[in-house]
């Protein structure tokens, strides 16, 4: 029994060493990305010279609907104003990427930096939501996501739309 107990302790110790090693190397290797994610900074240069950007994280339709139902996130439409007027996720606010530089300072004054932001545009091939997300991360927002299905996925699912 003593041998077995010592054996289990040794096994646990070896596993702990492996986890600690992976943690140290993983955090060391990704320290710039982690620092960016932690502080909300937008860009950093990787050691290999590759440009790495703190990017918003993608969410699927079901996750966005869950956040919408619980009113846990601020929905932001990154498309142009004409598209927004034609139809948008109900309750979303318009922030066209082309107007981001002027709209973000005003937005920062109204919405706390800890708020969860979900940005969308015209779906998977649309980069505007990711680009706008990067700008909002640069502005200090730490919880920024993009809905990669965008308005088409939302509309096709029959979820609530707003028009004006």
């Amino acid at each position: 029994m003593l041998v077995k107990r010592a054996d289990i302790i040794r096994l646990c110790a070896e596993m702990a060493v492996l986890v600690a090693l992976a943690f140290a190397v993983g955090v060391g290797w990704n320290h710039r990305v982690l620092l960016n994610a932690w502080s909300g900074r937008a860009t950093a240069t990787a050691p290999a010279g590759v440009q790495q950007v703190a990017i918003p994280l993608p969410l699927g339709l079901m996750q966005v609907k869950e956040l919408f139902d619980k009113r846990e996130a601020v929905m932001i439409d990154a498309r142009d104003r004409n598209s927004f007027s034609g139809g948008h996720i109900k309750g979303a606010m318009a922030m066209p990427l082309s107007e981001a530089e002027t709209l973000i300072p005003e937005f920062s004054g109204r919405v706390p930096k800890k708020a969860m932001l979900v940005i969308y545009c015209n779906g998977y091939a649309c980069e505007d939501s990711v680009e706008l997300g990067k700008k909002l991360i640069s502005a200090g927002y730490s919880s920024v996501y993009y809905f990669d299905g965008g308005l088409p996925a939302w509309r096709d699912a029959g979820y609530p739309l707003g028009k004006r």
């Binding site: 096994l11 492996l18 955090v27 699927g60 079901m62």
Partner: protein, 142 residues
């Protein structure tokens, strides 16, 4: 039960399991943000937590994979792989139960099939890891 055929078969299982996790790690290590995105889809961790797990987990898979392939300290590596797979299975099942459309991100972004397939794959890896643990435990000196 010291059948040499069984011994060699388990050695092959150990090397294959190690190679699979080496492959999975090598695919994920260069793209931490994409893997963080896959983890974020589970809606379990906060924003920074997704990045932290995405930074550390592939390295754990890499080290375990190396140990399994070489056979040195294979038992703790197989034990960690078994625990990881148990965790993956629970996370995928919970996501399915919540109706989330997740991609497990196991082998990089967008190459992983539906969650049910990922659960089946993880069950197979879990069984392989258990086999290695069983074999390695019999080799532990008294």
């Amino acid at each position: 039960m010291n059948n040499p055929i069984v011994k060699h078969l388990v050695a092959i299982v150990r090397i294959v399991l190690g190679a699979i996790f080496l492959y999975a790690a090598v695919l994920k290590i260069p793209d931490t943000a994409a893997f963080a995105g896959s983890i974020a889809a589970f809606l379990v961790l906060p924003y920074f937590g997704n990045y932290l797990v995405a930074a550390v987990l592939p390295w754990l898979e890499l080290f375990c994979g190396i140990l399994l392939v070489t056979g040195w300290r294979a038992r703790p590596a197989a034990m960690l792989i078994a625990l990881l797979n148990l965790f993956f299975i629970v996370a995928l099942a919970a996501a399915m139960a919540r109706g989330l459309d997740v991609d497990c991100g196991c082998f990089g972004k967008g190459k992983n099939g539906p969650p049910l397939l990922a659960i089946g794959r993880d069950l197979l890896f879990l069984a392989m890891a258990m086999l290695v643990i069983w074999q390695e435990s019999r080799r532990v000196p008294e």
